[in-house]
């Protein structure tokens, strides 16, 4: 009796350990893009894999393609609802007037800047010089040049990776859960893991004006919280990542003062 109630408690706490976290940062002067703004989305970086029984991740080409298609659709729907004019490019040579190398340079620079943002804002290595200044990073003249050449107002960089627990992994978790009834409780072998992040760059100033990270993970295989491969799951992810964009601190204060 006591053992089985323990097992139920363990199962309940394991179910709770599936969670979605999101945390965004914005430039203090950031105002939400509005009107007929032109947004350029650079090569959404999507990978979907399957977690094998032993924990290795098998990259899945078919799932990745499905997820990319679903995310692109969801992104178009979400942005057009806001009134924005969106272009999503899949390859570096698809942007007229900009060479693949130039675009690669901007992408790499953005990647390095994003890493620095994650390091300082999410991993706790905060920089004293940036304290209390919101999001204070820039891609500099390279991004401004890209804006001048193409006429876009903003560039959005988006990364999404999802790891889906395979049947074997779910079975392993179930076995661990079954063990709770006889005194060896190990349901939390690790299940689905999702990491998404996005950065919005103002192409007039080069500033990274907004940044958001969404992590979703479950300790217990078999529990899902939005499958990027499906239109619903992709829409949910886009909503979590981009749907709740908040203006910067100064702008919010002004709005409150009014």
């Amino acid at each position: 009796m006591r053992k089985s109630s323990l097992a139920v408690a363990a199962a309940a706490s394991a179910a709770l350990s599936a969670c979605v976290q999101t945390r965004q940062f914005a430039d203090v002067q950031f105002t939400l893009p509005s009107g007929a703004y032109k947004l350029l989305v650079l090569r959404p970086d999507v990978t979907v894999g399957s977690i094998a029984t032993g924990g290795m991740v098998e990259p899945r080409a078919d799932w990745t393609e499905q997820a990319r298609t679903s995310i692109v659709q969801a992104l178009r729907a979400q942005q057009s609802a806001l009134g924005g004019n969106v272009t999503i490019i899949e390859h570096r040579d698809q942007l007229p007037g900009v060479t693949a190398q130039e675009l690669a340079d901007v992408e790499r620079l953005n990647f390095a800047v994003d890493q620095s943002i994650v390091d300082a804002k999410y991993l706790g290595n905060s920089l004293p010089t940036k304290r209390g200044r919101g999001l204070d990073w820039t891609l500099g003249p390279d991004a401004v040049r890209l804006g001048q050449k193409t006429g876009y107002d903003y560039a959005l960089f988006l990364h999404a990776e999802d790891q889906v627990a395979s049947k074997g992994r779910v079975a392993l978790g179930l076995l661990g859960l079954a063990g709770c009834f006889i005194g060896f409780c190990a349901p939390n072998v690790g299940g689905q893991q999702q990491l998404d992040y996005a950065s919005l760059v103002d192409l007039k100033t080069g500033q990274v004006v907004w940044f958001n990270v969404v992590t979703a993970g479950s300790q217990v295989p078999g529990i899902k919280f939005g499958d990027l491969r499906t239109p619903q799951g992709a829409a949910q992810m886009v909503e979590r990542l981009l749907g709740r964009m908040k203006p910067g601190r100064d702008v919010r204060r002004q709005l409150q003062a009014r």
Binding site: A52, T53, M56, P59, T64, R92, G179
Partner: protein, 407 residues
């Protein structure tokens, strides 16, 4: 904890440990894989058809796009064309499918990616003494692709981690059911799994050596070239370690590659099998040197700035076995000058003086020769050296300063 517990006795643990150690031992000393047994597992124009490999190739597509546009790459078409040609010669059935990139990284390394593109580090071009040696390393990398090593080791790893997880879970749950604690065995099994992964990796490296030397010999190169590479690397690491007052790392059970010594010995045995009696092999040293000639100063410069005087000096002396020249003497001087211990200044001065005696002495050799002479109070001769420097490099960033020194 529990009365019924069947304790894992010390003896059973020792027995288990002994068995594990025995497998380890055979793991390190693998039997030589004979080149004739190495058959390519892919044909021309290979494309993956299985799900896991398709997934990995898709990831690699993006990786290759990044690498191909990286600013670390040396884009000189003469050099990249040369490397592409070499892999086209020793690449077996997939020769036409490979892509090869040259990265400016001053280390001894080259790597093959699962979808058939390779990266060669510039440090490799510095160390190779002739085309046959370089072709040997490239043939080894091509061997990884021809034997489908990446997907095979990926699957091996997946299988073993799957088995281990299931086994560990069953041991836990089953043990709890039976009231036995099997945790010690689980830990032993974990160690065994990890070690068997490393052993598999070493096995693949040995296969790539055997596959590579087979293709190297088939392309008409001297198969003995491959074992000399390891001889040189061992020498370099010994020199580097000795200088730093340490010992060179020897192989261990946690290595992903077989030890350099065993690779050298195996490759030598392979070469003896593959050498065609009476055939005179051309190692194509001239062709190699004339191709890399344009970046050799950069390669040497990157090396001496690694602050590893033991290795740098060994490398320069190894290259000089094919004859000293102004470039090598100059960088020999640079090794001493940058080390800057007692007596090194005089050694460097000697090297610079020796360098400028050769017609191919770089401009900087004249500059440093001039400075050394100046310090010795031989300002008249120094002026001549500075004049020579300015004549060779009129637009040098420090031209104004040198002009002032030269009076």
């Amino acid at each position: 904890m529990c009365a019924r517990c069947l304790e894992v006795t010390r003896r059973s643990l020792l027995l288990g440990g002994g068995a594990a150690a025995a497998t380890l031992h055979t793991g390190v000393a693998n039997a030589r894989i004979r080149p004739q047994d190495m058959v390519p597992l892919v044909g021309p124009g290979y494309k993956p058809t299985e799900r896991d490999e398709i997934g990995i190739w898709q990831l690699m597509e993006r990786a290759e796009e990044e690498i191909a546009g990286s600013n670390l790459l040396i884009q000189d078409p003469k050099l990249t064309g040369y490397l592409q040609n070499l892999i086209g010669t020793v690449g077996g059935p997939a020769a036409r499918d490979f892509r090869i990139y040259l990265a400016r990284i001053p280390e001894f390394n080259a790597m093959m990616f699962p979808s058939g593109f390779a990266i060669v580090f510039s440090g490799l071009l510095l160390r190779m003494r002739d085309e046959a040696q370089l072709a040997g390393v490239i043939a080894h990398e091509a061997g990884h692709f021809l034997r489908r090593h990446m997907i095979r080791s990926w699957r091996d790893q997946k299988r073993k981690t799957d088995l281990f997880s299931i086994g560990a879970m069953l041991a836990g749950v089953g043990g709890a059911g039976a009231g036995v604690y099997l945790g010690d065995y689980v830990q032993l099994a974990q160690l065994g799994t990890i070690l068997s992964l490393f052993q598999y990796s070493r096995q693949m490296e040995a296969e790539a050596d055997a596959m590579g030397i087979r293709n190297l010999a088939a392309a008409g190169y001297d198969p003995m070239a491959m074992s000399t590479i390891w001889q040189q690397l061992i020498g370099e690491e010994n020199a580097s370690a000795r200088y730093r007052g340490k010992h060179r790392r020897k192989g261990s059970i946690f290595d992903t590659h077989p030890s350099e010594g065993s690779r050298m010995v195996d490759l030598k045995a392979d070469a003896l099998e593959l050498t065609v009696p009476g055939k005179v092999y051309d190692r194509h040293r001239e062709r190699y040197l004339s191709t890399i000639g344009s970046i050799r100063p950069t390669l040497l410069d990157d090396q001496v700035k690694l602050n590893d005087p033991g290795a740098s000096q060994y490398l320069i002396e190894t290259l000089a076995q094919d004859g000293w020249n102004g470039l090598l003497r100059f960088y020999e001087g640079e090794v001493w000058r940058l080390r800057n211990r007692a007596g090194d200044e005089a050694r460097a001065a000697q090297s610079y003086a020796a360098a400028v005696a050769y017609p191919d002495a770089p401009a900087d050799a004249w500059r440093w020769h001039g400075i050394a002479l100046m310090k010795q109070g031989r300002s008249g001769e120094a002026k001549g050296a500075f004049a020579r420097y300015l004549q060779m490099k009129p637009d040098a960033p420090d031209a104004a300063w040198v002009r002032q020194m030269a009076g």
